[in-house]
Amino acid sequence: MATYLLKRLGMTVIVVLAVMTFLSLLVHLVPGDPVEIVLGPQATPAQVEVVRAEMGLDNPIPIQVWDFVVGALQGDLGLDFLSRTPVTQLIAQAIPHTVVLAITALALAALVGIPLGVYAARRQNSLADRAMALLSIGFITMPSYIAALLLLIVFAVQLDVLPAVGTGSFANPLDYAIHLVLPASALAITWIGYVARLVRTSMLSVLGSNYVRTSRAFGVRDRIIFYKWALKNAIIPTLAVLSSGLADLLGGAVLVEIIFSRPGLGRLTVEAISERNFPVVQGAVLVIALFYVLTNLLADLSYRLVDPRIRVEESAVGA
């Protein structure tokens, strides 16, 4: 375990450095002169030089990478081109909206998905079970922005019962929560299907096992087998999947935040990209990637901690 942990952590550090390098070189992938693209055709040569120096583009490339990495490690991601505010400040304003959204979506996925899965397992092969299997495929395959658009059409356009623009005010929790309903549901839908399916399969695999058959023969009550053993076994993989889901939600959040005009990290990124505001793009994408890498790491480690069998498999393969 210790070797694995060390290797995994070392790998994470290397990947984070690789991500930073990639982001710091992003500007150079632009065909043509990045500064002229940023400033537009009307810029005077003097202005171009000023911005070039400010972006550090006249330094040798290794120095540019070094400066970006060192800056990022010190919490300095540069200044927004247009508003001259520090990028870290923009990110700090955006993060809470995204994090609240993602966590609400996951909570929703667990609260709806687990009971659905339990119900389906309870009535295996019933009509309800089959209908649910179909529904969960539909849910799992539905991209969150499509779910967002459909929810918006039904609840904001047709029924006009839920707000679809902005976040409401933070000071008024009820207002904020109401604004959260549609975007969080849109993000949760995939995971509801996923969790329902996972819970059903894990429960059924326990219920079909030899020890359950033997216990039943010995007179252990169904209720105990079902809720105490089978459900417990299903919860562990579900939590692991949900914790890795937190990372995946960020990708979906980008489009969902645009659709519902929520000033989160995703919207910050997209707006910066369309304005060619490179420092903001670099900073926001770096934060998203860090979040993604770290939650994946945590999910991986916690999964290993809860389920010792994974360790055994690992040493058997010799990875």
Partner: protein
Amino acid sequence: MTIAPAPDRVPPTSAGLRPLLGRLVRRPAGAFGVAVVAALLLVAVFAPHVVPYDGATQDIPNRLQGPSGSHLLGTDGLGRDLLSRILLGVRIELAVALPAVCTSLVLGLLLGLVAGYRGGWVDNAVVVFMDTIQAFPSVVLALVLVAVLGPSLTNLVIVVAITFAPQSARVTRASVLALRQSPFIEAERALGAGTLRIIGVHVLPNVIAPLFILLAMNIPSAITVEAGLSFLGMGVQPPTPSWGVILSEGFADVYEAPWAVLWTALALVLTTIGFTTLGETLRDVSDPRLSGAKGLRYDR
């Protein structure tokens, strides 16, 4: 004395195409998947000949209409026929998704083969490369790359291919790692077979089957990414009727007429379910060992 060549212990990867198709169609989910995919391919090929309108002619007086006899699905903000645009869009979606996913599979196959077979620092380098690509949610990475390279159909294909390559690389690498240890490969090596022969004749047939499943599973993911980027204005550019473009234009008028968004969303959902059920059934009938494999995560 000559040594007889070792009998090939390669398990048959599939018992031919016909029985596989038969087994696919016998399951309801498989039949559904095959039907949807076949319908999409037919539409992609024949759409320009069968659509009621050309999808480009504007008819401003009749803009934002609901479904009617002359426009079965209604019209968009410029009075263009939605049915025609969505059907023509199928071709655009597949024109991005098919080449992108195929390229990603080939790229991943090569990376996975080299990494798994060579091991050592080559393997480590490939793994870091893949981990770095996968350190971003795929939509975010694709968004950044397309924005930097410039939005065009070709760039979209390249970007989606890069974003998706690590998946197939991982699958290939894992099977190569397992195969490399197996006795029949060892025997082959002892008999003096070269690296190329071992990889080409023995390893390749064993690692390629799961990639066909990834192909079916990843096409909807590629369509999802394409439509998402085009929705943000960072993919296929209007007036080309990509589904993302139709969604984005429809979204502007969604409070007046939700039809464009509604129909396109449903088309996308149907497509995604079709390809995914096809992929899942393919996985179940072709190799039951894979049925626990992680599929179905479009966002990766």
